[in-house]
Amino acid sequence: MNPIRKKRLYLIGAMVAGIGVAAWLALNAFDENLMFFFSPTEVVAGKAPTGHPFRIGGLVANESVKRRPDGLTTAFDVTDNDKTVTVEYTGILPDLFREGQGIVALGQLNEGGIFVASEVLAKHDENYMPPEVAESLKTAHDNAVGNTQPQASIQ
């Protein structure tokens, strides 16, 4: 390679490396703000902002979804399998909302430590499979842990 081209190559290399470092530093500085949501553990530890709305993300805990008497408000626990935060939401939930589903809710903690959400989004995971596969996986799992639903029997 002739010296001029070599020089150009080094210059461009230095430019891209410099921008890369700058971007890395900037993203590191903004790390907190780039997080789309906080986990229940972070919320319980008090890392989430107080006084203005933030998002909480986690799984809807099993057997925690309760309808309030007004028929519109739903209360459920969001968990990361360590800590749990109770969320209250008035409105229509997305189709994917169910127990065990990942969700992201936007809102604020009230005095009672309940997260009052103004928006609930379902978070889809990276697993794609046909219904039959999901069904057989579930059956295999249930068999493995030995808690199959008791079959109705005629007596």
């Binding site: 081209r5 890369g20 993203l27 780039l34 789309f36 949501f37 189709d95 928006e119 995971d125 794609y128």
Partner: protein, 250 residues
């Protein structure tokens, strides 16, 4: 010099490139159409619905290949830009601008289909999470490159300017790719990875891969067409273009 480098050098000659690309375009076009029809048939009709998303999963067969293309084309542009800046090869300069519009289209397609999927699945058209925002920045980079190119009269100066912009923007590509791992995002993490983690059923993976090959062939055909047109315009006062035109009008 090995075979590949010799071929690369030959393709750097405008006249040779014009002849060879003319022969390559129909191949790209036909293989594109065949894989597109097969991929769409597999994706829209044969493949099963998802256990959670139902039929909406079919959007993925367009969305994911389009998103892959948006990043792939950008990398092609950045590499062509690097070669243009260091070696000042005219053909790679032409490739940078010829790729930009196709790349922008794929980026838009990825964003639009993602939005259509997001409404029923997430419950929102758009969120400002790291993945969606960085992909939107990619669209702006493409549009910036196109705008910068048309703002500069001198084609060689324009090519150098957009090559620099393409190289500056290339830092965004790893950010898009790793955004779902580095930060909490609403967007799910990758289902198809090099490490071979099995997050997608084979019956869905096959149409997805066919579609991604199809989109690459489409890009091949379109980038060559655009490069030929750009080349003729740039070289309009040269001898070889005059010969090509005379040949065509005979």
């Amino acid at each position: 010099m090995n075979v590949f480098m010799r071929w690369f050098h030959k393709m750097g000659s405008p006249k040779y490139f014009y002849e060879v690309s003319g022969k390559m375009i129909p191949w790209f076009m036909w293989t594109f159409i065949i894989t597109l029809v097969y991929g769409l048939y597999q994706g829209m009709i044969v493949s099963p619905p998802d256990y959670q998303q139902g039929e909406s999963v079919r959007i993925m067969y367009i969305h994911v290949p389009a998103a892959w293309m948006s990043m792939f084309i950008y990398v092609v542009m950045a590499v062509s830009g690097l070669i243009s800046l260091v070696w000042r090869i005219k053909m790679t300069e032409i490739f940078v601008i010829s790729s930009a519009t196709v790349g922008a289209s794929f980026t838009f397609l990825a964003l639009a289909t993602g939005s259509l999927w997001g409404k029923p699945m997430w419950g929102t058209w758009w969120v400002w999470d790291a993945r969606l925002t960085s992909e939107l920045i990619l669209l702006f980079l493409y549009l910036g490159i196109i705008a910068l190119h048309s703002a500069i009269e001198d084609k060689r100066v324009a090519a150098r300017a957009i090559s620099i912009l393409a190289l500056v923007g290339v830092v965004n590509i790893p950010i898009i790719h790793y955004s779902v791992e580095w930060w909490n995002t609403l967007h799910q993490t990758s289902s198809v990875t090099m490490t071979g983690k099995k997050a997608m059923s084979t019956s869905m993976l096959i149409p997805l891969l066919v579609m991604s090959v199809s989109f690459k062939l489409y890009y091949g055909a379109v980038v060559l067409m655009r490069a030929r047109a750009e080349l003729l315009e740039r070289d309009r006062n040269t001898r070889w273009v005059e010969e090509v035109v005379q040949e065509d009008t005979k």
